[in-house]
Amino acid sequence: MKNIVLTINGKKVSAPPGTSILTAAEKNGIAIPTLCSHEELAPYGACRICLVEEENSGRLMASCVTPVAPEMTIHTDSPRVKDHRKNIVRLMIAEHPESCIVCNKGNRCELRRVAAELGVAETRLYPMPNHKPFETHNPFIVRDLAKCILCGKCIRADHERVAVGAIDYSDRGFSSRPVTLHEMPLEKSRCTFCGTCVSMCPTGALSTHNTFFTGTPETEETTICGFCGAGCSLSLGVSDNRVVEVNPSPDRDTVNGATLCVRGHFAHDFLLSPERLLHPLVRETDEEGNTRLAPTGFDAALSTVAGRLADIKRRNGEESIGFIGSAKCTNEENYLFQKIARVIFGTNNITSTGAAGGHALIREVAEKTKGTCRVRRLSSLENADAIVAVLSDTDHAVPVAGYHIKRAVKKGAPLVVIDPYRSDLAAFGGVWLHPEKGGKSGAFGIDAINALTARLIAEGGVDRAFMDRYANDEHGWLPAISAKDPDALAKQAGIAPERVKQAASMLKNRKIAFVPPCDLLERQNGKALLDALFNLALITGALGDKNAGIFIPALENNAVGALDMGCAPDMLPGWRKISDASEKESVAAMWEAAIPEKEGKDIHAMIEAAEAGTLKALYIMGENPLRSLPDPERVRGALKKLDFIVVQDILQNRTTELAHVVLPGAAFAEKQGSFTNMEGRIQSFIPVVSPPGDALPDWAILAMLARKAGYPEHYTAIEKIRQEIRRVVPSYTALGSHRQEWVKQNGSEIPDSFPLAPLHTPGTGSEPDEKFPFIAYIGSRRWHLGAGTRTARSARITASGRTGEIEIAPADAMDLGIANDSENGGKPIIRLLSPFGAIERAAAVNQGLPKGHIFVPQGFYGNDAMQIADFNALKPPGSGWRNVRVRIEKM
């Protein structure tokens, strides 16, 4: 459509039809004040500050909600406009508390700014008390609604951006205010404390609950969040070299826009934890044979590390040393780390705990799609034609991805949720496929997808052309599944056949975006489920479409990057297989160094080797295996056998207690580097504060170590590492040239053919039995990221009152006589026993769980949930450590 030409302040401007006057003016450098408009929220027209005058009609109109029209002659600053604006601000100010001096919004208050711009000081109106609630009880958000100007941003952010629905208006007129259901405190509402409303609030009505800081931060700097794999852009408020406030970055084209989650917004106070490591520590033995970690300098500590490791290598061979990198550290650090392992110490024993947390899924999907679907933008997910979420924990694990799904559904995309649990997403809308009538718990996902697939095939709802062109059915999957009765498959899964029909009719002939959970391959039958999912994606043509395909959430901020950098025993940087001689040679040539022949040990094999005494030393960077791996007692036993452990980390933890040398590293806000998020977006950042004490950026520590160990290259600046990455990793050729880059995909968008996986009839796995009649799932709750190493040190998270009760189905609670107890107020303590261990915790009824299922949230109580998990389930191909048979004992 043709642009519309109009005049604003005597200047001819043009704008596409439908543009608001406000936007058209802003695009042309004419600023109009406003308090309720936000580019990510639908036009609203509440505050009326953005009034402008139209000369021809003489009308005043709110520019944020009035679309441009031909021949309009707009004045944004006429005396009449100013007079009206002044009066509106005067009305606001006259009932606003006179507490600017002690207000947390301080000089960032938009109301104050607008009032100052318009010259409103004295209101000449009578005092009019406006008594509204003041809430400070939760550790995240302070609500002082007397300062609320009813711009509605919080409510709209809640509804439109994060789709939670915790707050809405209550009452009318002067008494109206944003409230939760029944005006309960926020912590008793559905609020997830994402804090999106806090950052949008133009006044001090909503502010961050701070126990250690009041006022306005000195500076605000942009960086990337170091928690989950969404890779949100943050704006960190800094005072006295401390991060005192977090908001979404105002930059454009960020993954999160105006949203964040409770961790990203409020958990960064872990940076100030008293348990931060401040000095290098080396284990000393006193005369009585007691050992202790004593502070020292980096020079001495690194000499010890280089010396001991060289010694062990010389005596026990390269294979006796292992390296565990980190999905939390930067690309540059992981690259340097694996290079040190491979080139200096000559071993491929390099992995990361991403190996137990999401790497398998990323690798499997990359393999299935032949590396062509690396870039999957969340904005594409938001524009999806249809969404199938399978066992999806997105709302808790990667909340920002969850917002994108919900927004897609709000835009009208049909949603099918396959999940035995009534997740937030299952409750959100669309069709929820769940075992209403029994079915095998471990097989539910596969059975459900097979039923849906068979139904779609039966109804001709698949993309024949795409399938014929690309699908290679070497295992005869299509005839096999076509021969099945969809209704029988549905019943096998315990789903009512009509529900599957309904889901199929919604998905028919649509390009589907599939969202598996980030931990899919850590669950029972995960691999078979992924096969079934992939086949469905292939026959519906989802892989060929921009807004469809498989969207893999990543649990940790740099899970993708750590893999790309070659933190894997069988892969060099850039996914080059060690088993591929030519790939290996090309890297060796670039490095001008030999690369060890044999593939190294993965995390499971390293622990077994430590137990067997063949592994002598471990260098652990940014990981806490004693907290994050299954069966921590076994892991502890293995680590205790080692001769030498180096832990490079930011916080004191159980693993540092065992270490011989502890090197204090820097957290994400304290160093330069880059993370690659779940979308394939490489995001570079610079330090916002400096590390505490003597701590140094991890890349700097590694660079010093390399020098100490005699490596000739001197990585004095991060740019030197980046130069090398750009050369060695073809998909990272643009690393560091801009704040944001995308992983480059090699080859054409779609390869010639994809193999269809065979039809799976899942094995029994760990189906419950008489001794352990329940099946537990160890999963995420939004308060903690993964094992909770950092979130558990956040004073706000720990004060939130979220205690991670073991969640039990209502029917089971009734059978166990637990339901009654919890009605009496106190939460009953139970002991949960698996074949591998036991934990004791409070129990709570979760109405969304089917009978026989137990949910154990991770990250709480020092992540004790790992005590019931099976370490051997880590052994490739992995049998799903997150699912485990359990029984309950009442305490």
Binding site: P43, Y44, G45, A46, C47, R48, I49, L51, L60, A62, V65, T66, P67, D83, H84, N87, I88, L91, M92, A94, E95, R124, L125, Y126, M128, I149, L150, G152, D168, Y169, D171, R172, G173, F174, S175, S176
Partner: protein, 595 residues
């Protein structure tokens, strides 16, 4: 249907029910049975007759004899004299307050003879709970014509010819509105009826729904046909239980008769209607708020464009018409738009229904041709001001309207003319005020209503109406300062120009129009701390003026707390200790003897 010798059309509207029409009906029915007249005399409970002031009322057909203020004890005489002997019962007839003569026939009573019944043509003549009676009076003939003989374009053309304008207040031409919606392409369109009548003192829509619900349904069917809509909602407030019951029944009957649902009258056209009950928010009468409310969300207006004709309910093209507008549509289609347009003024055609209340003799519902003067409406139809008091002003258009003083009473009923004098036609509420009304106090009353009903979304309305109320209250309480009047004027203009929806844009009208015509009363309150109408308690002395007191003792009788000391032939005295300042004595005193 057996033809009865006499049909007793007893009003069963809300007003007459309140004044006791049901006990009367029971007594009447029992007496008729006792006298074995069941076969020849039929009692019909109708919807609102309109003459609520003299209720319960009953019309005897075919004779057209009109009885008023009926009590159960009147039954034996009425049956004996009129129903059996055929003699009119004189004492139960309407007495003209001017000539003091009893008038037996309804069409001779000035209240009725000056009216023109189009939208309310069936009121009092049919049993609203019987679809056959509606059909017998040409009901659904217009819909039949629209569905079987006319194209949507022809319907729209006919309505445009009639000049019918929206009766909800804004007066937007109905035909034009339909044309917009008909031209918008969509898989589904909605036809809505706004029955969320909320103005204090307005009950036109309720009465039409109670008396003739099928007329509204017929209008909706025609509107739906014109725009190509298959689904309709009637948004009616919960506070109208009788209207809701009758509407529900009418919808059920219309479905049974094939007038709603699939393939109406074999035309291939599908349309059905549902009732949606509003929960009592005034702002839900605003069209965008009403639609949000039907969507199940909080009723809050949104900016336009997009206009509902393009994106309305559930973001689909929607037309919303008021009850009275729709009630006119069937007859316009049946008899042609030109007949409708033959009545009225240049820009305002047809008739308009008003609810007259306040200080006026004939409180009730009237339908007048457009162009009639306010004076005629208030003094001839309305019967003038009671208790020989003086007319002071009339509030037209509800809280969002304005007051019109005596010297402008010859303003004709016409959208534009009324707007010129600072009021609005509105939905048709007419509140007549006598000289005992304080105009500042009146503005306070309406501002209190408006600020309470503001939805709170936009700043000028939320903050501004509350602020105006605060200032007006201060003036009424004697705390006013000269700058207050300036502030009122300043804020009023801002609220009017900058509010989001119609509620806010008209919210300052009570203050603006009283300031325009009765500024001296504000001045008296502010400068002299005096309330000329003696209604603002804070500005009164509560003392008897000995010169004016006629020692009649009326005040003594009126006082609810025995605060007045009075003996025959003595001047009354008010005991300040006991006085609760309820103003009863002021109302009672005929001689203005209390200060």
């Amino acid at each position: 249907m057996n033809q009865a010798r006499l049909e007793l059309m007893l009003c069963g509207g809300t007003g007459c029910r309140a004044s006791g029409s049901h006990p009367f009906k029971d007594a009447l029915a029992a007496e008729i049975t006792r006298r074995e007249l069941d076969g020849e005399i039929r009692i019909v409970e109708t919807g609102c007759n309109g003459f609520c002031a003299v209720g319960p009322v009953m019309l005897v057909l075919p004779e057209d004899v009109f009885y008023q203020k009926l009590r159960p004890e009147d039954v034996p005489e009425l049956v004996e004299e009129h129903l059996i002997k055929g003699k009119v019962v004189e004492r139960l007839l309407y007495k003209d307050p001017g000539t003091k003569k009893r008038i037996p026939l309804m069409h001779d009573i000035p209240f009725f003879s000056n009216q023109m019944f189009w939208a309310m043509r069936n009121k009092g003549y049919i049993d609203p709970e019987k679809i056959d009676e509606y059909i017998a009076r040409d009901g659904y003939f217009g819909a039949a014509r629209a569905l079987t003989e006319m194209s949507p374009e022809m319907i729209i053309e006919e309505v445009k010819t009639s000049g019918l304008r929206g009766r909800g207040g804004a007066g937007f031409p109905a035909g034009v509105k339909w044309e917009f919606a008909s031209k918008t392409q969509s898989d589904i369109k909605y036809t809505l009826c706004n029955a969320d009548e909320g103005d204090p003192g307005a009950f036109m829509d309720r009465s039409i729904l109670e008396a003739d619900p099928h007329a509204v349904l017929e209008g909706m069917i025609i509107a739906a046909r014109a725009i190509g809509s298959s689904k309709g909602y009637i948004y009616c407030r919960t506070e109208y239980p009788l209207a809701l019951a009758r509407l529900g029944l009418a919808i059920k009957q219309a479905r049974e008769y094939g007038l709603l649902g699939k393939d109406i009258l074999g035309s291939g056209f599908d349309f059905d209607v549902e009732i949606y009950q509003g929960a009592g928010a005034f702002v839900c009468g605003e069209e965008t708020a009403l639609m949000r409310s039907i969507e199940g969300r909080r009723g809050m207006p949104r900016p336009r464009p997009p206009f509902p004709a393009h994106k309305g309910l559930f973001n689909k093209p929607t037309v919303l018409n008021n009850v009275e507008t729709l009630a006119n549509v069937g007859q316009i289609i049946l008899h042609g738009g030109e007949r409708y347009a033959s009545v009225g003024t240049e820009t305002s055609k047809g008739t308009k229904v008003f609810a007259i209340s306040g200080d006026v003799n004939n409180i009730g519902l009237v339908e007048v041709p457009m162009g009639i003067t306010l004076r005629k409406m208030i003094f001839e139809i309305g019967g003038g001001i009671p208790k020989k008091r003086k007319f002071k002003a009339v509030q037209l258009g509800g809280p969002s309207g304005g007051c019109i003083p005596e010297h402008l009473l010859d303003t004709p009923v016409d959208f534009e003319e009324i707007a010129k004098v600072g009021a609005i036609m509105g939905s048709g509420g007419v509140i007549v005020m006598d000289d005992q009304t304080c105009m500042v106090d009146m503005a306070r009353f309406f501002m209190d209503f408006i600020q309470e009903e503001s939805c709170g979304k936009c700043t000028p309305c939320r903050e501004g109406t509350r602020r105006i109320l605060q200032i007006v209250e201060r003036i009424c309480e004697g705390h006013g300062v000269p700058e207050d009047i300036e502030t009122l004027e300043e804020l009023s203009v801002v609220i009017k120009n900058s509010s989001l929806c119609g509620l806010g844009q008209t919210a300052p009208n009570p203050v603006l129009s009283t300031l325009r015509y009765f500024r001296e009363e504000y001045d008296a309150h502010v400068y002299e701390k005096r309330c000329p109408a003696k209604r603002c308690a804070a500005l009164l002395d509560f003392k008897v003026n000995e010169d004016k007191c006629t020692k009649c003792g009326l005040c003594y009788k009126a006082c609810p707390v025995d605060a007045i000391v009075w003996k025959k032939k003595e001047v009354a005295f008010i005991d300040q200790e006991k006085c609760i300042q309820c103003l009863s004595c002021f109302s009672a005193c005929k001689f203005d003897a209390i200060d």
